[in-house]
């Protein structure tokens, strides 16, 4: 997986709260393999004035979003579509739990900032369409177009996975002895389970 370190890029503001995964990618596209190019489906049914269709944001690699972004279904296609379109990071006050997890599995950084901070960055992006935002994963900081620096928290595991571009199945396989021991104990305690 692609590594993530520091990103300075055009950011697009999405002001609507509760953007669900059906909006991000309508269900009818999920039948295609990822190789079909999920970016074609990103926000497919949104109108021509949708923010990502505006020329100023076409090169956006960062989305600055509102509350509960990515709520709804577990479809990882939502993240594939976002990543396929070149977006590497999301910044917002809160995310749907499953979507949030899916982002990190795909090397997309989801940054949680206080509601006011995210709203302030979105305001700046509306005022200066095409303005740049910087995300420094190592330093755990987002720099807004006006230079304001917002620190963010990220758990060290997720950070390392992103920085090193790791796949966690490989990591888990190192715990094989513990998994096997767990299964032996489980067979004794709950013999009715396979």
């Amino acid at each position: 997986m692609e590594r993530f370190s520091t990103l300075t890029a055009v950011a697009a503001p999405l002001d609507v709260p509760n953007v669900d995964t059906d909006q991000i990618i309508p269900a009818r596209f999920l039948r295609y393999p990822r190789s079909a190019g999920y970016e074609r489906f990103l926000f497919h049914d949104q109108g021509p004035d949708f923010v990502l269709r505006q020329p100023a944001y076409r090169e956006a690699k960062i989305l600055v979003v509102a509350d509960n972004f990515g709520c709804g279904s577990s479809r990882e296609g939502a993240v594939w579509a976002i990543k396929g379109a070149g977006v590497r990071a999301l910044v917002g006050p809160s995310f749907g739990d499953i979507f949030f997890e899916n982002c990190f599995k795909n090397g997309v950084l989801a940054v949680v900032l206080p509601r006011e901070a995210a709203a302030d960055i979105r305001r700046q992006l509306h005022d200066r369409p095409g303005a740049l935002v910087t995300i420094d994963l190592g330093g755990q900081a987002v720099t807004a177009p006006d230079g304001t620096v917002h620190r963010f928290e990220i758990d060290p595991y997720r950070k390392t996975m992103l920085e090193e571009g790791l796949d966690d199945i490989g990591l888990t396989e190192r715990h094989e002895a513990a998994i096997a021991a767990y299964e032996r104990r489980r067979r004794e305690e709950t013999p009715w389970l396979p």
Binding site: R31, S74, D155, Y157, I169, T172, Y182
Partner: protein, 465 residues
């Protein structure tokens, strides 16, 4: 030992290892898969890995399956490929499949409990956000993405961060005419579509304890609509009675031991939750949604809210957008709103009791708009037919279909047209969920049935049943 919650007990039992950054490697007891699993099988193939515990995986096609004319096969070639890949992938791995021609086929969240695969104290995952359904048995059950599905297939474990725990108590006596769907829609309206984000929810209180297993599943099913990945209800005699004798439930020789274990699971007196919410039963009523988020519901006696009365500009803008999409004006009474179509089904409301509730309303009446009834599984369909429910639906002019996700998500082609208003027992009223431009109103099976025979959103309490 300090008093512990139901969630904490199930979590603690499944810890395989503690990892870096507060991550825990959890053992997964049961993994349910559907056609969407093809992404994960593909990822496994690419990395040269195999399925570690095929005996812990159960599969059924549900999202892409036709609900009519099934004997003729699947006409849509891409949908057919999805079902065929599930067949091939499960066969190659030695995974139990309830295939299209098997009477046990159905919506994955209906058949897990029905087969006794779902049990108290287990960890259960599925690549579907409504996996929270299985929490009705006191299991820790949650939806996962395709990468996590691949991870579980390969290792039978999952890295998780421990969520916070919220208890939602519904206290008092459930008023007549209030369905489990109304309980959960009321809860979501109270805490919001993001109110449960980061939490596992335990539902408790006298109303919850009085629910049947099928009703509990309806409540837990929609936990994710409040943002909570998992919703749980403590197992009790209702749970044990439901499970006894089911094919994958503990067999007779282990039954007593299993029940004894299950009795240890309920939250201890004095256990502390990160958040507690109390909902008064007397405030509950049959509800319908007016907007495009499951939090947007009001009692059927209510009106479309007015965005102008909302101070928060973000919330106001999102309400205005929702009303534009829904084609509704502020202040319009919900009751009397004309509908074009009715859908009774989905993992939320497609079980036998749901079908009984709907049949009781349409009995002796005629549907005035197209209405689909889609049972949750082949066995639900069979049981309903044994009671003659299908005859009630057919006589009333409703369509009686084969089991699947159908118009909840429309991936099999069961869709509403743009601009059509749908009275639906499903779980999501998102924009485009039931078809591009389709307008979904969520409600209980009895309320949807009432809409079918009146052509309007109708307070089912005012109908003679």
């Amino acid at each position: 030992m300090a008093p512990r919650t139901l969630f904490e007990k199930v979590w603690a039992r499944h810890v395989v290892a503690e990892g870096p950054g507060g991550q825990t490697l959890l053992y997964i007891d049961r993994h349910l898969i559907h056609e969407g699993g093809f992404h994960a099988f593909e990822a496994l193939r690419q990395s040269g890995r195999r399925v570690r515990r095929p005996d812990a995986v159960f599969a059924t096609p549900d999202h892409y399956v036709p609900t009519a004319g099934r004997a003729a096969g699947i006409a849509d070639p891409e949908a057919r490929v999805r079902v065929e890949s599930l067949r091939a992938d499960t066969r190659a791995a030695g995974i139990t499949l309830f295939d299209l021609d098997d009477p046990r086929q159905g919506i994955v969240h209906v058949i897990g409990p029905e087969q006794g695969i779902t049990q108290p104290g287990l960890t259960i995952v599925c690549g579907d956000s409504h996996t929270s359904t299985h929490g009705a048995f006191g299991a820790l059950a949650f939806g996962i993405g395709a990468s996590e599905v691949a991870h579980v297939l390969a290792t039978q474990t999952l890295w998780q961060r421990k969520p916070k725990v919220m208890r939602i108590r519904v206290e008092g006596e459930r008023p007549p005419g209030v369905a489990a769907k109304d309980v959960i829609l009321g809860i979501i309206a109270a805490i919001g579509a993001g109110g449960g984000t980061g939490y596992a929810v335990e539902y408790a209180g006298s109303v919850i304890r009085g629910l049947s297993m099928e009703e509990r599943m309806t409540v837990c099913n929609m936990s994710i609509e409040a943002g909570a990945r998992a919703g749980m209800i403590a197992p009790d005699e209702t749970t044990f009675a439901y499970l006894k004798g089911r094919p994958f439930a503990p067999p007779a020789e282990h039954w007593e031991r299993a029940v004894a274990f299950w009795r240890t699971l309920p939250t201890d007196e004095g256990a502390v939750f990160d958040r507690e919410v109390v909902v008064e039963a007397r405030d509950l009523a049959p509800r319908v949604t007016w907007g495009t988020s499951p939090q947007d519901s009001v009692p059927i006696t209510g009106r479309v809210p007015d965005p102008a009365a909302v101070e928060d500009p973000v919330r106001r803008a999102s309400m205005e957008r929702a009303l534009a999409y829904m084609g509704l004006a502020p202040g319009t009474p919900m009751a009397g709103l004309e509908v074009d179509r009715v859908f009774i089904g989905s993992c939320t409301n497609s079980r036998l009791e749901d079908l009984r509730a709907a049949a009781a309303v349409v009995k002796g009446r005629r549907a005035v708009v197209p209405a689909l009834v889609v049972p949750g599984s082949g066995l639900v369909k069979r049981a309903a037919e044994a009671e003659g429910l299908h005859e009630v639906f057919l006589a009333a002019g409703l369509e009686w279909r084969d089991s699947g996700c159908s118009m909840c998500v429309g991936m099999n082609g069961d869709l509403a047209r743009a601009g059509e208003r749908v009275a639906s027992t499903s779980n999501r009223n998102f924009e485009g969920r039931q078809g591009k431009g389709a307008r979904t109103h969520l409600m209980s099976p009895a309320m949807a049935a009432a809409a079918a025979v009146t052509g309007r959103l109708t307070d089912v309490r005012e109908m003679r049943i």
